[in-house]
Amino acid sequence: MTMYAPGSVTELQAVVRESERIHIVGNGSKTALHCAVNGAAIADLSGMSGIIEYQPSEYTVTARAGTPVRELNEALRQKSQYLPFDPLLPEQATIGGTVASNLSGSRRFRYGGVRDFILGAEVVDGEGRTFRVGGKVVKNSAGFDLSKFLVGSLGKYAIMTELTFKVFPDVPRFRCLGFLFEALEDALSAIYFINQSAYELDALDLAPARSVPPINRGKKDGNWKLLARLAGFDDTLPQRVERFSAAMTGDTATIQVEEIKDSAALWNPLADLSGEFLVKVVIPPKQLPAFDVLIAHDHRRYSVGGNIAFAATDDIAQLDAALDASGLTGLCLRGAVDSAVIGVPIDNALAERVKQVLDPQRKLV
């Protein structure tokens, strides 16, 4: 297998032009995305790294695609700003890989996902051409928005070399509450209550109670825990937490409320998901009860208010079947698979037109 490590856009263009088929990898943190490349040459973009321009006063940052998310997060943190889509694998992934696989973390709940914060990109397409898509200012509606198209595109249409994002000011303090529920349906009702309320949560995740710390007594199989995070400033946060807690106790079927020490590990939705295969599923919350029955033996967490499911399993065929039966699509992130996209195939009519234009020789795999 031919391996390349281009250090510049020009080198990458040459690699694309020379290769018959080419597959892109950043830090390789999503192993399942890199196993079905069938002899294609591999271009490792982790060398094309670094922040190019960061203007805190503009709320914009531009970085090369191979930049580690960790580095970007740290630079933003120094100016009390953050990427509100909350890259899912902050310690492992590159920013290019995060965009290509559209992986947001729990804090996506507050302001939106990758698609809501990408402003523009520079790419190399399957013909080896380099060009810009989108813009570098926070608002722009000129031309077709190919920058959003790149989100989730898995490097199969064009290779991102540089990305520009909108960023937001971050808040200094976080508090986390855990609400225990007898059953999944009760926990979902609580999410629906929150959805129609004015409480502004920083994150809202749902998981089987036994899988979430602190593991304390009284939890039974079938119990679910809702993790709610509030963010804000010292002077009002305690009151807001109290108020939210009281509303939840009064208006939902929670059987126990506890404050949990806030930590990065608590808000890593993948932290407790052990299993050979790890899959992201995009799911409307109302489909969760039926889907959950089908994957009851898997480790799982329903993140972003129950809109994104992460499931870990040793039996990928069974999970694939569960997705099929539910009309859902999954993206496998970990494990050896023939195709990273499982479950119901995606309607590809419009994407295929883009492929014809950007990669007519179908080099990018």
Binding site: Q55, P56, S57, E58, T60, N102, R108, G112, G113, R115, R129, F131, G135, K136, V137, K139, N140, S141, G143, F144, D145, L146, S147, K148, F149, V151, G152, S153, Y157, P169, Y192, N195, Q196, S197, A198, E200, G232, F233, D235, T236, R240, K280, V282, P284, V304, G305, N307, I308, T329, G330, L331, V341, I346, A349, L350, A351, R353, V354, V357, L358
Partner: protein, 482 residues
């Protein structure tokens, strides 16, 4: 329009929904970019998605250019008819098919009026966030085609950020669906919703739209600050941002815009060179604390007068002048062009100084109203279309303003789109190769280039530059330009 086309359309539409007589076509000859007009060959008024699909397939077979139209409020000429082409009026597809407050989503047809979604969601404490000034009349289908914005984009984004799923008919008649009811939208695979939204009607027509709804903020706090200097107001915006606040809206108006708004709606604005409106929104406790911080910042910024809305009536009054500023300017001048350029926020002051110089150079009046939070300028260039050469002079100034936006590192359009109006400026923003790629993409979807032909890309046949004065709906106070 040739007989064969009409006969084919007659197979889809009864005579009352197939308009071909001049008197029936006249109301469709312009949109809110009133400097242009063109008479379509025919107008059809479908009542369901099957009719739209049949129509698009027919257009594809016959290579007949078409434009989809909602309420015709485009400021860039996006829904301007194609001469001898077909206009597909979508207002009758106006059903909200599903409203699910628990999941905070709505599924709607393209002819649903923007504000009607909010009205339907209000009883559940929810609203549809994008708020273009024409929201009481513009349709969601048009919002999708042009990725419409509004005053509250900085925090929650534009139309594209609020669309989760789409069913569309592409220009070659292919019907395809992407995204769904999860807030992650398309989620897996390329973000096709993101690509389709803002494609200015060149890819096809949205048939069914899933939008996300937002919880109504518990509290708004709105402040109006008056300055003796436009630059100081611009600097205040940077100071607010630097203080770590994330307001829902930050708007600036200059003296001429203030004067127009005062004459029109008597908002009671102070006599000033510039007014800044800042609005915070969110949980009451949080907003309360942030508001103290905001007032300190405004204090430091050198405002000579600061007014705080004490109740909803006062908040409405502050916004009334701002939201009505565009139509108000129409009172000062028989005609005007609205520009929509974007500059990096920190260069707002520079941009305003340069616009001022240009206005002196061209001897034209320009009123400035803008979404300062995201650097989106809306200079209104005043002219009298009855004077020979006046429109050309105004357009020359408009072109120079667009050039300065690009030079400062911005964009030629923040939320109105390229449409007919700015198509000749696309090459100033994108390279030849980038435009070639966009054209190739368009042809991969629409080999006959029939969908909204003549828009976005430079060249092509241009409709007559004829009309002047306000749009009839604007004159009636139903729509405004922003």
């Amino acid at each position: 329009m040739n007989r064969a086309v009409i006969e084919a359309l007659e197979l889809i539409y009864p005579s009352d929904r197939l308009l071909t007589r001049d008197v029936e076509l006249l109301p469709y000859e312009s949109d809110a970019l009133t400097a242009f007009s063109a008479v379509p060959g025919a107008v059809v008024l479908p009542i369901n998605e099957e009719e739209i699909i049949d129509t698009v397939r027919l257009c594809h077979q016959m290579a007949l250019p078409f434009v989809a139209r909602g309420s015709g409020t485009s400021l860039s000429g996006g829904s301007l008819p194609i001469p001898e082409g077909l206009t597909i009026g979508l207002n009758r597809l106006n059903r909200i098919k599903k409203l699910d407050p628990e999941q905070r989503i709505a599924v709607v047809e393209p002819g649903v009026i923007n504000l009607h979604i909010t009205e339907a969601a209000q009883p559940y404490g929810l609203y549809y966030a994008p708020d273009p000034s024409s929201q009481s009349i513009c349709t969601i289908g048009g919002n999708i085609a042009f990725n419409s914005g509004g005053a509250h984009c900085l925090k929650y984004g534009m139309t594209s950020n609020h669309v989760l799923g789409l069913k569309v008919v592409l220009a070659d008649g292919t019907v395809t669906t992407f995204g769904g009811e999860s807030v992650d939208g398309v989620g897996i695979g390329p973000d096709l919703v993101g690509l389709f939204v803002g494609s200015e009607g060149l890819f096809g027509i949205a048939l069914e739209i899933t939008v996300r709804l937002m919880p109504q903020p518990e509290l708004y706090r709105t402040v109006l600050a008056a300055y003796n200097d436009l630059g100081a107001a611009g600097d205040a915006v940077s100071m607010v941002v630097a203080s770590g606040l994330l307001p829902g809206a930050m708007e600036i108006m200059d003296r001429l815009a203030i004067k127009a708004a005062e004459a029109s709606v008597q908002a009671g604005y102070p006599d000033a060179e510039a007014l800044l409106i800042v609005e915070l929104e969110g949980e009451a406790l949080q907003v309360g604390a942030e508001f103290d911080q905001l007032l300190d910042t405004i204090e430091e910024s050198g405002a000579f007068e600061v007014r705080v809305a004490q109740n909803e009536a006062e908040r409405t009054r502050i916004w009334k002048g701002r939201k009505g500023a565009f139509s108000a300017v129409g009172r000062l001048s028989p005609d005007y062009i609205v520009q929509d350029g974007v500059v990096p926020r920190s260069r707002l002051g520079e941009a305003l100084v340069q616009i001022n110089e240009l206005k002196e150079k061209h001897q034209l009046d320009v009123a400035n109203v803008f979404h300062a939070g995201d650097g989106n300028l809306h200079p209104l260039i005043l002219y009298d279309g009855r004077e020979a050469g006046a429109l050309e002079k105004a357009e020359a100034l408009a072109g120079e303003i667009l050039a300065l936006c690009i030079n400062l590192g911005g964009s030629i359009t923040g939320e109105h789109g390229i449409g007919m109006e700015k198509r000749d400026y696309l090459p100033a923003m994108f390279s030849e190769e980038e435009i070639d790629i966009m054209q190739a993409l368009r042809r991969a979807i629409d080999p006959n280039e029939i969908a909204n032909r003549g828009k976005m890309f430079p060249g092509g046949e241009a409709p007559a530059l004829s009309q002047h004065g306000m749009h009839p709906l604007e004159r009636a106070g139903l729509i405004s330009r922003e």
